[in-house]
């Protein structure tokens, strides 16, 4: 079944399709309509779930953690300041190995008070152990939420996922979304049934005191799970393609094979970049674009193999690591360690400023005539 849906409604329908058992959330712009619609779906009896109203985002994720530990499939959504308030629990969910899915509508951190798109909020959660995905369009939001449960719930993974969608560019923009049919989704994503869970008949405690002789190994196991996930993400992406007709991987390459210039990017900028690439190709410029879907686990190998023949590489970040550079640019450089291909770090669209096709063309123009540079501010009013 196809519907015209905003990104937020898409996320709500995805949680419904995943038949989550518990939803706990606190409203925050621009996320609010995700859980608003979910509360209606639950109230209408169309989803057999507990909707837990809480007093803060910290409590929202804490409630999901408790429920997930008891064997429920859980969902929550937030943005920016809300995600920051969750931070302690973000660590807890990952170290507790609870495959919660959180839809984060990427919004700029305050001050200045902003409700517009910026990935700094989720990038700041980089080292917590969560998997992180960035979506280009609403269909990808729907598909990613379904796949994230399937990937995260696997016994060899057991990791939570942050599914990111850009404020307004996706959250409040309507697109056609294929919602598939219930039966096919149910067979793709069976009921969550973890091996170890809170059970009064067989009591155990989670997250207990862990001395140095074991903590180290728990950290090691999280890293190993992320390494396995790079393979599992591709497997599940292929299975999704076979089942629903849309295949996904860690990255999405567009016209990269013969490209002299490759622009690496993520989220909605990836869509604009594809149009920009088409325009530049019409003018005879050999350009390609590589969308990075996963920030964690980071697709080092996929980036390396895709850009191996490019003459120059640019990375567009809608986020900044102050005192460093663009976070995706930083990681991309790390994945190409030992290579001498000139690299350019572009900072664009912070706080929701539009990144147009012209802006992207100007990046390629810059790469043509300038030496490599780590921080190139696109359109900054100096």
């Amino acid at each position: 079944m196809k519907k015209v849906l905003t990104g937020n409604f898409t996320a709500a329908y995805a949680a419904t399709a995943a038949k989550v058992d518990v939803i706990a959330a606190y409203p925050i712009t621009p996320q609010t309509t995700i859980v608003e619609l979910l509360s209606e779906i639950v109230a209408d009896g169309k989803l057999d779930a507990d909707f837990v109203k809480v007093e803060s985002e910290h409590s929202a994720l804490a409630a999901c953690i408790g429920a997930q530990a008891a064997g429920a499939r859980t969902f929550t959504a937030t943005s920016a300041q809300g995600l920051a308030l969750m931070h302690e629990m973000i660590h807890w969910a990952a170290r507790g190995r609870l495959p919660i899915v959180l839809a984060n509508v990427n919004r700029a951190m305050a001050p200045g008070w902003s409700i517009w798109a910026d990935a700094t909020d989720s990038v700041a959660q980089r080292d917590t152990g969560w998997m992180q995905v960035y979506c280009e369009n609403n269909q990808e939001v729907f598909d990613t939420i379904l796949m994230s449960y399937k990937i995260g719930e696997r016994e060899d993974i057991l990791l939570p996922t942050l599914v990111n969608l850009d404020a307004f560019f996706l959250s409040h923009t309507s697109q056609v979304v294929d919602l598939y049919d219930e039966k096919t989704i149910d067979s793709f994503l069976p009921k969550y049934n973890p091996k170890i869970k809170l059970d009064e008949k067989s009591p155990c405690s989670f997250g207990a005191l862990t001395a140095p002789d074991h903590y180290y190994e728990f950290s090691y196991k999280i890293q190993k799970a992320h390494e396995s996930a790079t393979q599992v993400i591709k497997e599940v992406g292929k299975e999704f393609g076979k089942t629903f007709g849309r295949e996904y991987g860690l990255v999405d390459a567009y016209k990269c094979d013969d490209a002299d210039y490759i622009l690496i990017n993520y989220s909605t900028i990836a869509g604009t970049a594809k149009d920009a690439v088409d325009r530049m190709r019409d003018k005879g410029i050999k350009v390609g674009t590589l969308k990075v879907r996963y920030f964690r686990p980071f697709p080092y190998e996929e980036i390396k193999s895709t850009v191996s023949n490019a003459k120059k590489i640019g990375v567009i970040d809608r986020a900044v690591s102050y005192g460093q550079e663009g976070p995706f640019f930083n990681e991309t450089k790390a994945s190409l360690y030992g290579k001498t291909t000139p690299m350019y770090g572009f900072l664009a669209g912070l706080g929701g400023r539009d990144v147009s096709i012209k802006d992207i063309e100007s990046m390629v123009d810059y790469m043509k005539t300038n030496d490599p540079e780590n921080k190139i501010w696109i359109g900054v009013k100096e």
Partner: protein
Amino acid sequence: MSKNEKNKYEVEIKGAKDMPSMPASLGSMKYNKTASWRSIKPVIITEKCKNCMICWKFCPEPAILPTTPPTIDYDYCKGCGICVVECPFDAIKTEKEGK
């Protein structure tokens, strides 16, 4: 189940492969004694005790058992001394641990 019974869930951990993915204690805290850092030991003076159970109410751990008179569970008592302060009849004294 008696408290000294062996933990049937206990697994020998040699390395990461033997460990669950998350820190989970199988078989509850019954087997995980937590009082080793106690330096001061509260002792109930049974002749003074009126069985009011205020100590039981104030104990932040389930370390005072609601018997008559109450008994202190030294496997979990961390020696915080709250019961000593709260007892209205001065019926709980402290001893230095290891004496």
